[in-house]
């Protein structure tokens, strides 16, 4: 009998826990994940918003992993759920979400007032946030590939920051040879070559800085061009013939592996996203104040390029609180909120006017270079089935830099497979 009571009480408690906290009034829900500091930033911002407008917002915490964040959104949206009302999207999901009809276009809310849009980077809005001529999202953070270099080491050998890839190879080889005498794990240049999305981002930078393109003006894929082949061959050679990039580049090197290798003092140059800056400059970093940033190099006679990344805010078409959600979007894309993002997190806001703010410039002098880089950032192909295309590209690129496939063959395989994918999904 005693056991029966225990069971009964436990059941009652659980029942109350599950059904007792029924929502009194509607609450706006906002799904966001990522690093703990990121979630804390949003929770603070939500408090400010609640204070100003009186609209209640609940932050739905998502995991850090990008793929899992996407899954967490696709499931409720596919089920036409009212929650979450608002969410952050990686730059490459936006067109899939838009093509699925999940995003509320903002044109009626903007009501012809395009001055708001003027505050953002024009290239980003054009390449990402427009779907069939309508605005469907807003950039919150922006990312682009950068070259990090060791100021102290370059000074020691009296060398310049390389402007071209050829110069980078020459400088890295020379320094690597000298530094190896003391540190056998020292490499000239670290970048992301593991089989994942980051590899496509790196490849896009190499090929764009050689005048190549993944997609031509009329929207056709052009993977196996001579420019792209040279770029891929160069990536292969960095590891295998110049030997200035570590052999585990194509197995292990993702953002964090690259960052830690550079931060430990094991590399001269690093390709990474802007997030690495505040970590390299952290109090516990052995390379604090020894780091500089520059645009990524280019091939002789070509233009530099940086792959566009970042996160965009979108409103669910199934939301039952669209007016309130619009207030929230206006609030989080405001000058003050975006400035806070830069000052508190050291991240790169979607609004370009923040980069010229005096206070921001003083705290984050590298924003001057970032602004220039973001202005000309290159977007990845903007397709609803981009992930599938990327999957194929990653596989072929990775096989090629691992030395399993000739660059030309890898790229023409990728081209063929992409054509097959297009046949399936383009109807």
């Amino acid at each position: 009998m005693r056991r029966f009571y225990t069971f009964g009480v436990t059941f009652l408690v659980l029942f109350v826990l599950f059904f007792g906290c029924k929502r009194e009034k509607p609450i706006l829900t906002f799904a966001v994940g990522g690093a703990p500091s990121e979630v804390v930033y949003w929770e603070e911002l939500v408090k400010d918003f609640e204070g100003v407008t009186g609209i209640n917002v609940k932050v739905l915490r998502q995991p850090t992993d990008t793929d899992q964040r996407r899954q967490g959104l696709v499931i409720p949206l596919k089920g036409k759920q009212k929650d979450p009302d608002l969410f952050l999207m990686d730059v490459v999901w936006v067109s899939q979400f838009a093509a699925s009809g999940w995003l509320q276009p903002f044109d009626t809310y903007l009501a012809g007032d395009t001055t708001i849009l003027g505050a953002f980077f024009e290239g980003v809005i054009e390449q990402v946030d427009k779907y069939k001529g309508n605005i469907i999202s807003f950039p919150i953070y922006i990312d682009g590939g950068l070259l990090y270099y060791r100021k102290d080491i370059l000074e020691k050998y009296q060398l310049e920051v390389p402007k071209t890839w050829e110069e980078l190879v020459k400088t890295a080889k020379l320094v690597q040879k000298q530094e190896r005498k003391e540190n056998s794990q020292f490499y000239g240049f670290v970048w992301q070559g593991a089989q994942y999305e980051g590899l496509v981002c790196n490849f896009l930078e190499f090929l764009s800085s050689n005048g190549g393109k993944m997609v031509d003006e009329s929207g056709n894929f052009t993977m196996a061009t001579p420019e792209n082949t040279t770029a891929l061959k160069f990536m292969h050679d960095l590891i295998h013939s110049y030997a200035i990039s570590p052999p585990n580049t194509f197995t292990e090197m993702k953002e964090e592996e690259v960052r830690t290798s550079f931060q430990r003092g094991n590399a001269l140059f690093e390709r990474n996203w802007p997030y690495a800056w505040s970590l390299h400059q952290g109090e516990d970093s052995p390379i604090k104040d020894k780091v500089g940033i520059a645009p990524l190099p280019r091939f002789e006679g070509k233009e530099c390029a940086s792959t566009l990344g970042g996160w965009h805010i979108g409103l669910s078409r199934y939301s039952d609180m669209k007016e309130e959600a619009w207030e929230f979007i206006k609030f989080v894309t405001s000058y003050e909120a975006q400035k806070k993002l830069a000052l508190n997190l050291g991240w790169n806001p979607g609004r370009k006017d923040i980069y010229d703010d005096n206070e921001v410039r003083e705290a984050l002098p590298h924003f001057e270079i970032l602004k220039k880089i973001f202005k000309n950032a290159v977007a990845r192909p903007n397709l609803p089935y981009y992930s599938q295309v990327s999957e194929v590209i990653q596989r072929e690129l990775n096989a090629s830099i691992a030395g399993k496939l000739e660059p030309k063959e890898a790229l023409s395989n990728a081209q063929d497979r992409i054509v097959e994918i297009i046949q399936v999904y383009e109807q």
Binding site: D67, R70, Q71, V74, L77, K78, Q96, A99, S100, G101, W102, Q185, A194, Q195, Y196, P246, P247, N248, F250, T251, E252, S261, N266, P384, Y385, S387, Q388, E391, R395, E396, N398, A399, S400, A402, K404, L405, V424, Y425, Q427
Partner: protein
């Protein structure tokens, strides 16, 4: 059948019903549901339409799917026999009387108690190019570090090693249970007859634990063909897609939002697992052995 009374049949049905109910709800319906999904074009950004079996036609022409299938089968062929051999050795050692038997049992079972993802992460550190212990040894022996996960073959055997480490304890537990069922008297008699250890193993132990071996093989084969978590964490399917298993391949389509095609991959995986289970039960004369 006729010698059962109506009452007996009714009672039997009552006993079987709960099992049938749970099997239907948790196994049969999900499988049928996946099959139903696989007949449709179910991609958020395209209109839903009935495709009948054309997803399967697409699958049969999909070279990458066949590569994944080949990998999964090879993985089973290499890892399961190794697990069985090591599992048997450990089970025999643990079955011997010894004052530290409890300690040995705990140590041997430890890998099985660790979640796969965590185990995989640990192996990733072991294989790490810069600071992994494997390369510490390799550098001492050959003078140069090895990129363990960098070649197709290296990645394959790295996965096999991690999987054998992880699941041998499972085989050990099952076989140990089987060994304990062997009557001591048989060994005593055989010893009096002057047999050696090898003879006793093949003439007494093996025939008696054979049904248990089949059970262990069955579980391990089904688990190994569906391998996902270890690969997801350790190699992500690389290098160049060389270690993509069928599960991982299907998962990537779910991630993209192509639920129809992803479902058809799952169904083929289900059929392969089902076929293998069927084969074991037939070849192992499981029915007679158990009854």
């Amino acid at each position: 059948m006729n010698h059962y009374t109506y009452r007996e049949l009714r009672e039997a049905a009552g006993f079987i019903f709960p099992l049938l109910f749970f099997v239907s709800v948790f196994i049969l319906f999900p499988v049928l549901g996946s099959f139903w999904n696989s007949l449709w074009q179910d991609t958020p950004f395209l209109t839903n339409k009935f495709l009948a079996l054309s997803s399967y036609a697409r699958l049969f022409k999909d070279g990458l799917f066949w590569e994944a299938t080949r990998f999964s089968l090879l993985f089973v062929l290499v890892s399961v026999p190794l697990e069985l051999v090591f599992g048997m050795i450990f089970a025999i050692i643990l079955n011997e009387r010894s004052s530290i038997r409890w300690l040995l049992r705990t140590v041997v079972l430890l890998p099985w108690a660790i979640p796969v993802a965590i185990g995989a992460r640990v192996w990733q550190l072991i294989y790490n190019y810069d600071y992994g212990p494997m390369n510490f040894i390799a550098t001492k022996l050959t003078g140069a570090p090895v990129n363990w996960l960098g070649s197709s073959l290296g990645a394959f055997f790295s996965l096999v090693l991690a999987d054998v480490w992880k699941t041998t304890p499972f085989v050990t537990i099952i076989l140990l249970a089987g060994l304990q069922a062997v009557p001591e008297d048989l060994y005593k008699q055989a010893k009096i007859d002057g047999t050696n250890f090898i003879q006793r193993f093949f003439r007494i132990t093996l025939p008696i634990v054979k049904p248990i071996i089949i059970v262990a093989l069955l579980f391990r084969t089904i688990d190994a063909i569906r391998i996902f978590d270890l690969i997801y964490v350790l190699t992500g399917g690389g290098p160049g897609g060389a270690t993509t298993s069928i599960s991982l391949y299907g998962y990537k389509y779910f991630l993209l939002g192509d639920f129809g095609y992803g479902s058809s991959v799952s169904i083929i995986l289900f059929l392969i697992a089902f076929g293998l289970a069927f084969l074991y039960i037939k070849l192992g004369k499981f029915r007679e052995a158990v009854l």
